[in-house]
Symmetry: C2
Subunit: 396 residues, 2 copies
């Protein structure tokens, strides 16, 4: 018998309760044991919830109940979530989470703590919502050296781009639409400024390369400055604008990781990933390119990924864990300034070396360009003194 | 210490030996134990192979060596491969394979045999080559009821379609090119007549639904009759021809499974899967559509999937297994004749109800049509007495 406690009864937490109990029989069969929801921790009251009997307000009830084997942390953030996760692991309980901020920031120590206490710490739902990615990367691709990870990791940003292109509406309006549809938070900063993508990239990179990459080491540019003119120029050169998180393993053992919008060519399988869908491209030295695609967020997709981890924890408590992450290696992180690529450049006036793009209805004097391959410092030198309106990296 | 024996030193077997030894240090670290290649079984001699010291010709050497924990079966077929797999499992050794014919035909019994002898039987490489699919489907999507599996599962067939469309060459010539490039066997029947897709679909379906679907229960149509005219009509209606294996769970608990070429719309994420790439779309009741994409065949991709299973077997011998498959359920398999859809029809002359397609350079009198949605028996009735040149199911 496996008893589960859910911390936080928000969107994901309530989804986990529903999936755990709604599909209960099937889930228990798959777990080879009976899985039962024992507690839900929340400061608020939910007198009408079907789980009303499970609610508690004091974490120590869960911490001190030896019958609780698996704790689901869906509080979010790095405050109470960190405290409760540490205490649960120290009490020998396994913890499953969708909290990307906590994993990206404290994952290494929490994995270590889990191992010390014969528990597991699992977080498949923290990247890509319901898309299976962390376990496939960690287990199924274990015979590969991972060469690169490149992903559309934020559904809100991708939805905004899709609306801009398909409906011809500017960024601000597309963002409002995303909020109205429930795809973006009222405070959308983490989505549109790239931090959400950055955290997910750190988790992927740490699993792929085996040492903890920290968010503050990843230069991150969001999408707030992208205009309809940029989308028109992208269209003019058969490309799409996508916000990508990339982590590239270099031959010297260093990793170049960054988050930026990109012009990507229509031949790239990521170009066709629209709306709130996410996709993660993984290059292995043996398998070549493998891509994982699906809804990157949403109550039920995310909850089902959490519950799959609960089942894994229930089936094989000591063996389901990710391999431990080695400590962060400051000297192994290299700047994306060293990564040469072509660039899209939009100028207020004047010219630039490279291929000139033409669009209909462009602003008087403005021009769009695709430069030859060079690094960002070389580009900045070339553009010195020019009135630069936009610079976006090109990826074929 | 985990000692591995490889059965069959063909393309995949020699690739496994390379991946196991070439990336050896990394692999042993991931397995938390030292993994070592002890034997290679082959009837042929390979005096110049770097693994020459490992070769044996008599399986009983492997069977009787208690140091061998994991046997890799890459012989293929259901003759010696079945015999050796049974004997290895009965000796308590775990078996890892890429042999889709053996798994599709005897998977249930071999999983049972493995469980009886505290061994595991793993076959990630049997579907999708290096694409992680069976473990994600079995574990990461465990909290879902699977509603449908729909996949481009044969790289050779997909390569042929891509060449027909992109180079404008007929089927026979595209097949010859595939053979010249090593993408098709000299006897390409299993690829172009659909059996290979059928076997992979049976494995996916058995894992998704939990009972053994057998190849002889799956109506299978290959691609040998597809012409350039059909490709032109597909293009005329914004669709692509792809050979799909589909298994659809119906509300009454039955499964409709079949293999056929389809006209699929360009909006379908499978439409952009070209060349030798494979992709598998899985619909879960909670996650929605999830897609797995990558190279479906090839020496190193397949070998790396085999080696990942060897690592899984080494890490967690008793827990890495797939859940057992229930016996086949003849009454749970329903004919694709019950599945209504639109149809593409090409007639030698005359007309048909539906939307007429126009192509340039079509044959005098011939016409292409997209019919309203109906079942195949209804379609056949409608077409009675007409000179029908082609019928292909439409999937949007």
């Amino acid at each position: 018998m496996v008893n589960v406690a859910i911390l936080g009864f928000g969107v994901v937490g309530s989804g986990v309760a529903e999936v755990l109990t709604g599909n209960g029989a099937g889930i228990s069969k798959k777990a080879d044991e009976l899985i039962s929801l024992k507690y839900v921790l929340d400061v608020r009251d939910f007198p009408d919830s079907p789980f009303a009997a499970c609610f508690v307000k004091d974490f120590s009830v869960i911490e001190q109940d030896p019958e609780v084997n698996v704790v689901v942390e869906t509080i979010g953030g790095v405050g109470a979530a960190l405290d409760f996760t540490e205490r649960a692991l120290k009490a020998g309980k396994s913890v499953v989470t969708s909290n990307k901020e906590l994993v990206a920031t404290h994952g290494r120590r929490l994995l270590e703590l889990a191992a010390e206490h014969q528990a597991v710490y699992l977080f498949e739902a923290s990247v890509g919502g319901g898309i299976p990615i962390l376990r496939p990367l960690s287990e199924c691709m274990a015979a590969n050296d991972i060469l690169e990870i490149c992903g559309i990791l934020n559904g809100t940003a991708n939805y905004i781009f899709t609306r801009m292109v398909q409906d011809g509406i500017p960024f601000a309006q597309a963002l409002k639409g995303a909020q109205a549809n429930g795809y973006a938070e009222q405070n959308p900063a983490a989505d549109v400024e790239g931090q959400d993508t950055c955290r997910k990239l750190c988790i992927l990179s740490s699993i792929a390369f085996g040492w903890h990459l920290l968010p503050e080491q990843v230069p991150t540019t969001g999408i707030t400055s992208i205009t309809l003119a940029d989308e028109a120029y992208a269209d003019a050169c058969q490309r799409r604008i996508k916000l990508l998180g990339r982590a590239i393993a270099r031959e010297d053992g260093t990793v170049c990781a960054y988050v930026e919008p990109h012009f990507i060519s229509l031949q790239n399988p990521l170009a066709g990933v629209d709306d709130v869908f996410n996709a993660i491209l993984v290059k292995g030295d043996a398998t070549g390119d493998v891509m994982f695609y699906g809804r990157g967020a949403g109550k039920l997709p995310t909850a089902s990924a959490v519950v799959a981890d609960v089942i894994a924890a229930a089936r094989q408590l000591e063996r389901a864990s990710y391999r431990p992450w080695q400590p962060n290696r400051p000297s192994s992180v290299v700047s994306s300034d060293q990564l040469a690529s072509q660039w899209y450049v939009r100028l207020a006036e004047g010219t630039c070396s490279g291929e000139r793009l033409t669009i209909s209805g462009g602003k008087e004097g403005e021009s769009g360009w695709i430069t030859p391959a060079m690094t960002r410092p070389q580009l900045d030198q070339m553009l010195e003194g020019k009135q630069v309106l936009a610079v976006i990296r090109v990826l074929d």
